[in-house]
Amino acid sequence: MEMSAVAKKTAASWAWVLVLSSCCIWLLLWLLHQQTKGRLAADIQAALDAGRLEQLSGTVTRAYQNRYGVWVITVNGHDTLLVMPNMGVLAEKPEPGHCLQAAGRKRRSLRYDQPAFYPVSASAIQLFPPNPHSGCGLPIVTIAQAARMEVGQWAWLEVRGASAQTFRSQAGRQHLRVWVRDETGEAHGIMWEGQFSDRDRELLQSGDPVRLLAQVDSFGGSLSLIVWKVEPSG
């Protein structure tokens, strides 16, 4: 037996009323969302003061976006910050060397056993160019001091480039071999393919003072630097 035309019409009218009502409530929720955005800074400060949020600051040592749009940002070489795509688009693309400040919470997940830092929102992440007078969470060291650091540690080095030559590895990748010096000594290092530009190579070849963001490594028993960022000093 078919439903009567009147019953069908009444049901459809009611359905339209429900569509409109649920859309109105969606709009209301959207407005509340925008209102919260407007007072986000104050809310974050209040939560930080109450100890319900933590702050993460330091130098971006690695940053990449996976195919699903998740930003995986390593800070100071050991803290991982995850920006999920539902947080929206970051105002600036994070790059090694950026000074980062974010408010959020550290959480563990079953899949990634290491705890990761989840920001409150994409707009709660601030990125600044590196400050020449502060290491932004990382030490500014000389080559002699770097030689005493443990392998894997990160630092900024104020040095002068001596040479920079590209070479092809056995795997066919083109890396940059660098040689730097300061008043305390000399060190060699490497920049991986994809991590250096012609400008970096020219800076290192020019002999001008530069700041390197580097990870301490050892090669043949002596200091070797894995260089991630080259900035003109001063």
């Binding site: 569509v19 649920s22 929720l29």
Partner: protein, 474 residues
């Protein structure tokens, strides 16, 4: 005695789970996720007490399994529409013919088949993974790049195969917009991760209160005397149960899909192969859906170990409990959980076989209107007390949205757009630009700390409201 203690804890958890699952299963609209949320909120206190993590997990698993077995009883005997054309569900058609108990037994066959099947499949996967061969995680990693396309095709297929495509697309789209807003929302602080997060009011509204509200509007049919039938020959329905088991596995392991989506896909598959008679198709649907529900629940929990991902409310609660405790997966009591699931299922099966007729009589004697009002009050008060006015707004919005599909005779599964749209956008890599364009950039403000006294007070208040509502609605 000391060595017996863990087993005693497990036994107690099993008993408590069977009792809770029976209660939540027999009350329409009360989902195991509500219980999981309450339990998660209690977790801080549980951690300080002597209750071992294994016992808490066993309790959640037992509750979820028993709930799956028993929730057929109120579905069959309560809220059966008075007019024949509105009795869309096969269980309602059978109840109107005085064969409600047959529907219960069909569901039992499906649930039991789903339980045994999913435990066997899960064990096989576990052994396979332990041998070091490519496991489910590798399989998931392999199919992940194609998930966005596959889920989009499924969503389009479900919309196009509906009777009223326009309405189906409308429900799917609005649900998707709700999903995009809610998964990023600061309206209920804590987002989707908190014990009483935004999913609590959203799912309660979309799939619980909406149905209850509609059933309050409709006049229920006085059911004819129900015939007492003998338990069914399980062998006849083995195929449907096996299909349901595999379907439940897909729902449990893949993101975004719901049991209703997969059941619909199976229905489409059957009709494409040649439509069976209406009655047989209906019975097949009951068995398959029940098997999917149980299998989905179990694979949801198994996904924690096999994929390290939570895929359901119950498994999300277990995940949160495990994250809070050191050791995590290394101590996940998979075998204990499987044993508890089997025992809980056996208890629920025994309960339905022995007490089915009297349960059916008792439930059908209760006032559906009273029960619907009681559950509506209980959930509304709990949402108000735990998520505030933001939660109430979400509850009202999703309840209204959930009422559209049954009114215009489109599948309720279209409302799964709430999960499907954000999941499709995530796997396509388009989520960030889309939420930014809509002004819905996520804000994850921390949830307020759960105060145990407040929670107990809220539960008391909600129960009192439910009792008063039942009396008024009788």
């Amino acid at each position: 005695m000391d060595s017996l203690a863990p087993w005693l804890w497990l036994a107690l958890a099993l008993l408590a789970g069977v009792a809770t699952g029976t209660l939540t299963g027999l009350i329409p609209g009360l989902h195991v996720n509500v219980v999981a949320a309450i339990l998660l909120a209690f977790s801080a206190s549980l951690q300080q007490s002597d209750v071992p993590l294994e016992a808490v997990i066993a309790y959640i698993v037992a509750t979820a399994v028993v709930q799956c077995f028993l929730d057929i009883v109120p579905s069959v005997f309560l809220g059966v529409p008075a007019s024949e054309e509105l009795a869309l569900l096969p269980v309602h058609r059978l109840a109107r013919e005085g064969r409600g108990l047959e529907a219960v037994y069909l569901s039992l066959v499906g649930s039991w088949g789903g339980l045994v099947g999913s435990l066997s499949l899960g064990f096989a996967f576990w052994v396979w993974q332990r041998t070091g061969l490519p496991g489910l995680q590798d399989l998931e990693d392999g199919i992940r790049p194609f998930l966005a396309s596959a889920l989009s095709v499924i969503a389009v297929l479900l919309i196009l195969s509906d009777r009223h495509r326009g309405w189906a697309a409308t429900v799917f789209t609005i649900s998707g917009l709700y999903g995009l807003l809610l998964f990023a929302s600061p309206i209920v602080p804590g987002g989707a991760d908190a014990a009483f997060g935004v999913l609590f009011p959203a799912l309660s509204g979309l799939f619980g209160l909406s149905g209850l509200c509609l059933s309050l509007k409709e006049s229920s049919a006085p059911l004819p005397p129900q015939r007492v039938v003998a338990p069914l020959d399980e062998a006849r329905w083995r195929g449907a149960a096996a299909r349901g088991t595999v379907g439940g596995m897909l729902v449990g392991l893949l993101p975004g899909l719901g049991a209703a989506n997969v059941a619909t896909l199976f229905e489409l598959w059957s009709s494409w192969r040649g439509a069976p008679e209406r009655e047989d198709a209906g019975k097949d649907f009951i068995v398959t859906t029940s098997a999917i529900n149980v299998s989905d629940t179990l694979f949801g929990v198994a996904a924690l170990v096999l994929l390290q991902r939570a895929r359901s409310g119950a498994s999300a609660a277990v995940e949160q409990l495990m994250i809070q405790q050191p050791g995590q997966l290394a101590v996940f009591p998979l075998l204990e959980a499987a044993a508890v699931a089997l025992l809980a299922g056996a208890a629920a099966r025994g309960l339905l076989l022995r007490l089915g007729p009297s349960l059916a009589r008792s439930v059908s004697r209760m006032s559906h209107r009273g029960l619907a009002l009681a559950v509506t009050s209980f959930i509304s008060v709990m949402v108000w007390c735990t998520t505030g006015y933001g939660g109430i707004l979400v509850l009202v919005g999703t309840t209204l949205l959930g009422m559209i599909a049954p009114l215009v005779h489109v599948r309720r599964a279209q409302a799964m757009g709430l999960f499907l749209v954000p999941v499709i956008l995530y796997y396509s890599g388009w989520q960030a630009p889309v939420v930014s364009a809509l002004g819905l950039d996520g804000i994850a403000l921390p949830a307020p700390d759960v105060d145990l006294v407040h929670l107990v007070r809220s539960l008391g208040l909600a129960t009192a409201a439910a009792l008063v509502s039942y009396r008024l609605g009788k």
